[in-house]
């Protein structure tokens, strides 16, 4: 895939992403099997025998049709994902002539991505995340702490990171992944659901690396990206707001309730993100961004 990738390829990152993708696929199958088995227990042997009797009686087409309907409906429900309208409290949509919008508009022109809306929110930390309510355009939410405390180049890095979450379709992907994890948690045994959660989160961590990398290549400033990650990770605040927690899954940095480096984390550690960005810096130093 070398020549077709965005701004070249990071072999190590691609390999890790493919591995995470395989794990998620396996986890999804595992969930399906676990749920199917729980149904067998639920319906019981009698139910199965009834089904078999119906089949032998000649209504096999009814049974097959019903099964097909169930499959189609559940796949449809899964693909739609749960569209929960999240109201972000205290969000203030920024006007067209705001400086933050101007920074974002230039990034969009550089990358040829349609411009999402930009809003300020109150979070007790420097952070940003992508929000997507049904029937509304995609919005990037920037915390007031980030907007007013970060220097311009770091603010740009944060916006570019979120912009690539939008461009890569991560809002939809995250919603689907979380749905798999949710289903497993409710319906499958704990061993399975733990494995599913870890697989899903490992893929989400790869999405963070992908957004970091694409953003650093676009702005040409991997050092500003590293500085922004450090600045946002160091202010020590945490979020206990249940409404926001799922939205912040696509945040620039995760809300901290404990240390880093757990298999269930949505974000990679600062050290790992720095490693990937160091490889970007090497790429930029030696050749052009599309070489």
């Amino acid at each position: 895939m070398g020549a077709t990738t965005r701004y070249g390829d990071d072999a190590q990152l691609s390999r890790a992403t493919r591995l995470a993708l395989l794990r998620v696929g396996f986890a999804a199958v595992l969930t399906a099997v676990a749920i199917a088995m729980s149904y067998v227990v639920l319906v019981g042997i009698k139910g199965l025998m009834g089904l078999r009797a119906a089949w032998e009686f000649g209504h096999w087409w009814a049974v097959a049709g019903l099964s097909l309907l169930v499959v189609v409906l559940s796949v449809g429900a899964f693909l739609r994902g749960r569209v929960a309208a999240r109201r972000i409290r205290g969000a203030e949509l920024l006007p067209e002539d705001s400086r933050f919008v101007a920074v974002l508009a230039r990034l969009c022109a550089l990358a040829d991505i349609p411009r999402p809306r930009l809003a300020l929110v109150d979070l007790p930390m420097r952070n940003a995340f992508v929000g997507e309510a049904p029937g509304q355009p995609v919005t990037i939410y920037l915390s007031r702490h980030a907007a007013y405390e970060l220097p311009d180049d770091q603010l740009e890095a944060v916006l570019a990171h979120e912009l690539f979450h939008v461009a890569h379709g991560d809002t939809t992907l995250t919603r689907r992944l979380e749905r798999i994890a949710d289903t497993a948690e409710r319906r499958a045994p704990e061993v399975v659901s733990t494995y599913v959660l870890r697989s899903v989160r490992s893929l989400m961590r790869q999405r963070e690396h992908a957004a970091d990398r694409a953003a650093a290549l676009l702005t040409g400033r991997p050092s500003s990206m590293v500085a922004a990650i450090e600045a946002c990770s160091s202010d020590g605040a945490s979020i206990r707001d249940a409404d926001l927690r799922s939205a912040v899954a696509l945040g620039f940095v995760p809300p901290r309730e404990r240390g880093f480096g757990y298999p269930e984390d949505t974000h990679p550690t600062v050290a790992r993100r720095t490693e990937v960005l160091a490889r970007v810096a090497t790429t930029l130093g030696s050749r052009g961004p599309d070489a």
Binding site: T5, A102, D112, R115, G169, R213, T219, G220, S286, D290
Partner: protein
């Protein structure tokens, strides 16, 4: 972009399209005939200079290329958003020659692998009182007009308010639609306040 491509972050980089730049001279004729605007002889190229040695070499190449052709004076400046602007001047104003130089600068950057860093090019026009810039978006291959409003209005701090002359911009869009490809999405007409060369 397919689902797999998006999961692997494999979206294609936005490649610049330089050919549309050559539509500028015919647009200039329309402008002078209809509204009395003429080229100021100033044009500029904005790009994002990445960190690292490779780009410093390219910048030297661009300078050498323009110097060798007995080319125009180039001013380099960095704006408050962190973009580098190369300003080219032609005195007396000669738009076709200016466009050729703009194209040369852009293709040098593109050939060196820095196409994705190109933001926009700008050519400015004036009718004596009002000045506007035609901004060329490389990644879209489209133009849009950017016209700062002129007036004596001052804010309470004594600064000139940043207001765009939307009437003129729309007028220009309608006038030039046969000569140039105009950006249809107005949300992409970002303001370039104080752009070098405007």
């Amino acid at each position: 972009m397919g689902l797999l491509d998006s999961i692997l972050g494999r979206s294609k980089p936005a490649k610049p399209d330089l050919d549309q730049l050559f539509g500028l001279p015919s647009a200039a004729i329309t402008l002078e005939a209809s509204l009395g605007f003429t080229s100021t002889g100033t044009g500029s190229v904005a790009f994002r200079a990445p960190e690292g040695r490779a780009f410093a070499d390219v910048q030297a190449d661009v300078q050498a290329l323009l110097d060798a052709g007995g080319g125009p004076k180039v001013d380099v400046s960095v704006d408050s958003f962190g973009y580098t602007w190369l300003v080219l001047r032609k005195d007396p104003p000669d738009l076709p020659a200016l466009v050729t130089d703009l194209h040369a600068v852009n293709s040098t950057l593109q050939d060196s692998g820095f196409g994705p860093t190109l933001l926009c090019s700008l050519a400015s026009f004036t009718d004596g009182t009002r000045t506007f810039g035609l901004v060329y978006l490389f990644k879209r291959g489209t133009f849009y007009p950017f016209a700062p409003a002129v007036g004596d209005a001052r804010t309470i701090d004594g600064e000139a308010p940043q207001r765009r002359d939307n009437l003129l911009e729309i007028q220009l869009r309608d006038l030039l639609k046969d000569d140039l490809r105009i950006e249809p999405e107005v949300s992409r007409w970002f303001a370039v306040w104080g752009a070098p060369g405007l």
